[in-house]
Symmetry: C2
Subunit: 180 residues, 2 copies
């Protein structure tokens, strides 16, 4: 389907509460373990979502609207999340994600984007010319890629425990294409 | 990590609220579309979770405790979800999933399982001998495989809309190993 701004906002609005309901009361065995060396835990993923919220979506939308294709977005630091998470609990990160997401959505609404704005173009440092519509659709799909990753990281913890059922569980066949 | 009954119960407790927070307020464009012919929508997946809750987990645990390896579980009907969902709204299905899950967890607690019970064995019609521990771990991992699937079904709707970002979004590389 085509990008639809209201659909994007609806999804972006729901993600923090969904992660909160899924993760806040879980034992750390689910949230602090990862999928092996150089992979992320659920805790790391939530830190990354906060960092992306501060650095990526609205800042890039503003840059696109201001500079068009003449100036590339700042490259995104995939390890920047470490600074967001240090010394914090998962509960603190979930609160912070809800707050920064709510602020971003407020800023997005304040931009009062019209259909013609969605076709405006900017420049990504790696992939080149992109539209505002693509940027906003990617913001929503980025939530989904990390929900996908979170479910895979958690399922990985029971990879052995499920015994012969493992072959029926699709998430255990997932090759980790959304790991860092 | 090994199966841990308290960790399993913690996860099973959180899933209905997580799905509710993610899905209840979304437009149908996210929840009624699928990934193509003979694939499930988010709505179908929630119906399947309800059907599995009624037919699979506690009924199989009871059968294992009662008959051991002498009698195989009933095969699971992967299309049984259709009967659960017909004529209902997604909101009704989410309410129903929360209710049947709460009932199952009540029954699980009433079994008052001891560590030695978790090693007891039953017979799966396809994979053969399984333990109660493996059955309960699979119950939790089954929630995660369908959360993984839901995030993939939803992301699929924006497959074109994200433009050149698609190569960075792991969920869009997922081959659908958890589809029906």
């Amino acid at each position: 389907m085509e990008h639809n701004l209201e659909h994007t906002i609806a999804l972006l609005t729901c993600t923090p509460a969904a992660l909160n309901a899924l993760l806040r009361d879980l034992p750390e065995a689910w949230t602090l373990r990862n999928e092996g060396e150089k992979t992320w835990s659920v805790f790391d993923v939530v830190g990354h979502l906060i960092y992306a919220e501060r650095m990526n979506w609205i800042p890039r939308a503003r840059m696109l609207l201001q500079f068009g294709e003449s100036r590339a977005f700042e490259p995104f630091d995939r390890t920047g999340y470490v600074r967001e998470s240090q010394g914090k609990s998962l509960g603190q990160l979930l609160d912070e994600f809800a707050r920064v997401r709510s602020e971003s959505l407020g800023e997005l609404r304040a931009l009062n984007l019209q259909p013609e704005d969605l076709a405006r173009r900017g420049r990504h440092p790696a992939v080149g010319v992109v539209t505002l519509s693509e940027l906003l659709a990617t913001w929503a799909a980025h939530d989904l890629t990390h929900l996908h990753q979170i479910s895979r990281i958690m399922a990985h913890q029971y990879r052995e425990a499920v015994g012969p059922w493992s072959k029926f569980l699709g998430v255990l066949q997932c090759a980790g294409h959304s790991s860092p």
